[in-house]
Amino acid sequence: MLNKQLTYCLIVIASLCVSLTVCAEDKATGKEKAKSEKKDTIFRGISAHIDIASPLMGYVTDHGIRTLEGCIDVNLLHRFFPIVEVGYGQADKAMDNGSHYTVNAPFTRIGLNLNLLNQRQNEDRTKGVKSYAFLGVRYGMSFVNYSVDNVRIVDEYWQLEKTLSYHKDFAYAGWAEIVGGIRVDLVKGFTMGWSIRYKMLLHSNISNKNEMWYVPGYGKSDGSVFDFNYTIGYTFRTNNTK
């Protein structure tokens, strides 16, 4: 009798254990699924950064050029980072020959960064991205009011001289950029990044593009340009990437 009761008790305990285990497994699977679903959301975060290299380098190299720019990018699937960069640039440059160029204009760039690091943890999940190397492309544009003053024509043999000025409102310039760099997590959502850019001027609405000596956001218009950015900012991350 006692043995029977003991057997029943053991069966009940065993059943409970099994059912609890199954329940726990079910719960765990449910959590995993929920977590997995959560991780598979496309939007993973948004970053706002300001570039501190452009104003600093303008000051150091003494080109009479000042630029201030910032950017906002969105983290999609830890892989794609659509980005908008906006800024304002001004140049006030006098040459040895007396020519003087002034320009003030806002500029904007739109593009996409591609995370080069493998973020896949397993078949279903990706790791949270905090630091990554990237390669990207941009299309930039700027509407410029510029003026070139005191352009001297000196005729040494005939000892004649003449001075010319050029001015244009709403001059337009569009360019393409290839960007490579890194974005690094600092602390508590604060991030920084380095990037190097190769820029190519694509088009403008002025007949002699040499008149537009400097295009804010692009640089000197006499050829392709290499540029460098050091940005610092804050990244708002979705819960599954924290």
């Binding site: 380098m57 190299t61 020959n97 020519s99 043999y157 004649l160 040499n210 460098f228």
Partner: protein
């Protein structure tokens, strides 16, 4: 590893900035001069036609009312002279040992902005050329557009002695 990457990036950026920096000096040659070639028309009795022959003579060349001499008593068959960049005409004196002639050239100027460092390049389009008739018989425009140096734009025909 991360630090090394930073250093590499900083060095690369500085190199790029260094390469990009411009000292404001113009490195383009914007000189445009009118090329002049000297000829004589020689009669060929066998064929009964006039043939154009290159003429070489000892010349002194300078701009009219200009103290600066471009060529002084040089054996020349061709030479180059600078046109006025801000006026639509220029006059040059071509002096041989025995006589002197003045060539007058009328033209239009075109100012093209090259760069902030270099300023403008002035090119010319020849409209008319005339001469006094002493040693020189006539002049003729060979190429209207004076946009480079090293071409012949004006032919000068001397009398046959």
């Amino acid at each position: 590893m991360k630090n090394k990457l930073y250093y590499i990036l900083i060095a690369t950026a500085l190199i790029f900035y260094g390469c990009d920096s411009n000292d404001g000096e113009c490195r383009k040659d914007l000189t445009v001069k009118m090329g002049v070639a000297l000829y004589q028309m020689v009669y060929n009795s066998e064929t009964g036609t006039f043939n154009q022959q290159t003429y070489t003579t000892k010349l002194t060349v300078y701009g009219l009312n200009n103290d600066s001499i471009l060529y002084k008593e040089k054996e020349l068959s061709s030479f180059e002279v600078p046109l006025k960049k801000t006026e639509p005409f220029a006059q040059f004196v071509l002096k041989t040992e025995s006589s002197s002639d003045t060539i007058t050239v009328l033209y239009t100027n075109t100012e093209t902005f090259i760069s902030l460092e270099c300023g403008c390049q002035v090119t010319h389009a020849l409209v008319l050329a005339t001469t006094t008739i002493n040693a020189i018989d006539s002049v003729g425009i060979r190429a209207e557009n004076v946009t480079t140096t090293g071409e012949t734009h004006l032919n000068v025909y001397y009398h046959v002695k």
